[in-house]
């Protein structure tokens, strides 16, 4: 025969040294406070499951802000209401850790209402212990979202009024309506039966996490004798008489048996895999280009404008990539946001042999206009002696200025002839390069296959470039 003992569970620190120099064996909680019972139940469960070494307790803001004084586990303190978000960060980082978000009713149901709902809804594999004492303990007995109708607190001195504060919020019921959580139960700390119930629920909520079943939530109706200004014994009776009728003590959801455990594969990735995924392994050596090409390259300040779907942004990208490939400096910047949704789009592209300052082409020396409004908008900005390329398929007027060079090309019709109206932009680039001879138009052939996502359209786009070249040769040979 030997003595079996019920004593301070192993997952408590022997001495609560973080608490300060004195009283290192008692908690900072008031006499009869429910937090203490819960700490005991949690530590006991962690020890029994043998997971205290890999557990991390998230201390909230509230009376249990100092929960880290007690748990001989990893400990972290979170901002008011954010414990489920912090727990998400912890758990996603180290899925094998056992993460417990421990929160009061102000923390969980008021300021952190969204964090708890969303963590639950994502089905984070974590355990949440929700201590519902119908009051803000730490800050001096103010009203909580769970404060009962008529209950007097320091901020509801005449009793909670429905007209002013609405009804107490039932978090378990709300969480249980979500699809993701595996287990939601409300318990209480009022007598032998309810305490045992709480023990079972908390064990289950932790076991679910160990088994990788997902989100478990235990709400515990717990006494706050100080906030309620009654004795510990009366506090338990008060829970029975007043809280339990409004907050039924029961399981609201338990599908842990039906849920598969969620294994998360973790492995290291080689540099090669990383580069492959990031699309960087296809990048090769710097191309050899004659020094004279770079030296003599006149900076191109391009503005390409049209309506959405005409490929003005991608024309700019392809042009910039092509010039980059020839070792030139390039920038591309789009109009973005609501402006694009209005149906018009434009981008600024700069190609240069030296470092580019501002990427904006307020005064372009190349303007490509795919539609009428773009010509109206930008014609006056073009530098004297600049070049304007007009898509005559859509723009029905001539350029008014006589100090600029103009190419009139039925870009859209040429592209339609190839069966791909959207390739008008490539017709344009072919024409632009053939006309200016700044870069061999064939250089575009190296870029287009990489730039175009729909691979079956690559050939047509290459043909479009050639059509642009052909149009210049036939109509604008210099």
């Amino acid at each position: 025969m030997k003595a079996a003992v019920l004593e301070k569970p192993k997952a408590f620190y022997d001495k609560f040294e973080r608490k300060g120099k004195t009283q290192q064996e008692t908690t900072h909680y008031c006499p009869g406070c429910g937090h203490g019972n819960l700490h005991k139940i949690i530590t006991e469960a962690l020890s029994e499951f043998g997971v205290d070494d890999r557990s991390i307790i998230v201390s909230p803001v509230g009376c249990s802000v100092f929960a880290y004084y007690y748990f001989d586990t990893g400990n972290i303190q979170a901002a008011h209401g954010r414990a489920p978000a912090v727990a998400t960060g912890l758990k996603r980082s180290n899925p094998e850790s056992i993460v417990i978000s421990y929160q009061g009713d102000g923390d969980l149901a008021a300021i952190g209402g969204d964090e708890i709902l969303q963590a639950a809804n994502r089905g984070e594999n974590m355990t949440v212990i929700f201590v519902n004492n119908a009051i803000y303990g730490m800050t001096g007995g103010q009203m909580a979202p769970t404060t009962l109708v008529g209950q007097k607190t320091t901020t509801s001195p005449y009793g909670r009024k429905i007209e002013n504060e609405g009804y107490p919020i039932r978090m378990s019921e709300i969480i249980a309506t979500l699809e993701a959580p595996v287990y939601v139960e409300r318990t209480a700390l009022v007598d032998f039966k309810t305490i045992n119930h709480t023990k079972r629920a908390i064990r289950k909520a932790i076991k679910n996490q160990i088994d990788k079943k997902g989100f478990s939530f235990v709400e515990v109706l717990a006494p706050c004798p100080t906030g309620w200004k009654i004795t510990p014994v009366d506090s338990q009776k008060w829970i029975q008489q007043h809280m339990m009728p409004y907050f039924p003590v029961q399981a609201f959801k338990d599908v842990s048996d039906q849920r598969e455990s969620m294994e998360i594969e973790q492995r290291d990735y080689s540099d090669q895999e990383v580069l492959d995924v990031l699309g960087l392994s296809q990048l090769g050596e710097k191309k050899q280009v004659p020094a004279s090409f770079i030296e003599n390259f006149p900076t191109q300040f391009m503005k390409i404008a049209g309506f959405g779907g005409q490929g003005v942004l991608s024309a700019g990208v392809v042009m910039a990539a092509c010039a980059m490939n020839e070792n030139l400096e390039v920038t591309w910047i789009p109009s973005y946001g609501p402006e694009m949704r209005g149906g018009t789009a434009n981008c600024s592209v700069i190609l240069s042999n030296s470092r580019i300052g501002s990427p904006l082409t307020t005064n372009p020396n190349v303007l490509i206009v795919m539609n009428g409004p773009s010509l109206d908008a930008f014609e006056d900005d073009v530098q004297p002696n600049g070049l304007i390329i007009v898509n005559t398929s859509i723009v029905d007027r001539r350029v008014k200025r006589d100090d600029v060079d103009v190419l009139y090309i039925p870009l859209t019709e040429i592209a339609s002839g190839l069966g791909l109206t959207a390739a008008a932009n490539m017709v344009c680039l072919g024409a632009y390069l053939e006309y200016t001879k700044l870069i061999d138009y064939k250089s575009l052939f190296e870029i287009v296959p990489l730039a175009i996502k729909k691979k079956h359209l690559v050939d047509t786009n290459l043909k479009a470039i050639k059509e642009g070249v052909k149009y210049i040769r036939e109509n604008y040979s210099r």
Binding site: V65, N94, E115, Y269, D271, V330, G337, G357, S358
Partner: protein, 347 residues
């Protein structure tokens, strides 16, 4: 091709992944959304985590948790989102958690608009959240620097156990430029203080609460000392033609690129114009600006704000020379010619 033509915002994510970052938590906002989108695309392919958080508040607190768990982690947003993150950033600073936060600034106050501005300078460089803390703040002005400085941000954050901000404007975020990426991924160091969820690390506590006034004061002093060390060792700036300059232009982000053109144009007209571009906003290149003040006649600070960085320039110049100011706000960006005219008024 040796380089990739890529948007600044996407370069942030590729840089982050090469820096060993494995978790991203964020909430969409123009003009920073490409960062979240690139993260959503790439992180899962490399065993990392992307979570679209319910808010910026949640996002920064997820970052807090993941950083505490020893990982390299980041988030990104713009003005209104950064305002929401401030409490969490203060917690990270207080608990000495390394993390990287990108701020692609848009116009404000309030919802403002999505065009570029630099009105977040004070909230990111001076504190923004509560308490005596500083962020390390890096200000890229090209897509290449969006990658490089994001990678550097992870290093600095870990070295100093401090939040590190990559701050820029909508234009630098939206612009595509050639970027050369590193070819090896950085290894994340083991962190003695972190919570790995194992026996070895369970002694650790991550917290920013110290009820004892003496301990909280000591902690604050330790933080101030750390910021001092950062100020002594981590200043970065670019200086062009300052030696013989009569007037030095000062600007960061997109403004620094416009000022480069301004300087080039005026130099061609034999005007002695120089340029200082702070790359770190905290620590600020105060010593260099102070030295420059010995020889130059005046400074012109150009900002897309009501005048926030200018305070730091003035502190460095300390009344010895004139510090002129030119600004645009609300998303308007000055043209090169506009600033050339302004400079001419002062020389």
């Amino acid at each position: 091709m040796q380089k990739e033509l890529i948007k600044g915002n996407e370069a942030v994510i590729k840089g982050a992944l090469m820096a060993g970052c494995s978790l991203y938590f964020g909430y969409p906002i123009t003009p920073a959304s490409e960062i979240a989108q690139a993260a959503a695309y790439y992180f899962p392919l490399l065993g990392g985590t992307f979570v679209q958080a319910e808010s910026e508040v949640a996002a920064i607190n997820m970052v807090y948790g993941a950083s505490a768990a020893g990982k390299r982690v980041m988030t990104a947003s713009s003005g209104p989102g950064l305002s929401l993150k401030q409490e969490g950033i203060s917690y990270c600073a207080g608990a000495e958690l390394p993390c990287v936060i990108a701020d692609i600034m848009r116009a404000g106050p309030g919802l403002g608009n999505i065009w570029p501005e630099q009105g977040d300078y004070n909230q990111m460089v001076k504190g923004g959240g509560h308490g005596n803390y500083r962020n390390i703040v890096l200000a890229p002005n090209s897509a290449q620097e969006m990658c490089d400085l994001t990678m550097k941000a992870f290093e600095l954050a870990d070295i100093y156990r401090n939040p590190c901000i990559v701050i820029t404007d909508a234009y630098i975020g939206q612009m595509m430029e050639p970027v050369e990426f590193p070819t090896t991924r950085k290894k994340v160091p083991y962190k003695e203080w972190a919570l790995y969820g194992d026996e070895k690390s369970k002694k650790n506590l991550v917290t920013s609460i110290l009820m004892n006034t003496h301990l909280e004061e000591e902690h604050n002093k330790k933080l101030q000392k750390k910021y001092q060390t950062i100020a002594e060792n981590e200043v970065l700036y670019e200086a062009l033609n300052t030696e013989d300059a009569d007037i030095v232009l000062v600007g960061y982000g997109i403004i620094s690129r416009i000022l480069l053109n301004v300087m080039e144009i005026l130099r061609k007209q034999d005007k002695k114009v120089g340029l200082i571009r702070p790359i770190t906003l905290f620590p600020f290149p105060s010593d260099f600006i102070s030295q420059a003040a010995d020889s130059v006649k005046s400074f012109l600070v150009v900002e897309l704000s009501n005048g926030q960085m200018i305070d730091d320039v003035k502190l460095a110049v300390n009344g010895r020379k004139d510090v002129h100011f030119y600004n645009r706000m609300g998303g308007a960006v000055p043209s090169v010619d506009e600033i050339v005219d302004v400079v001419k008024k002062f020389i």
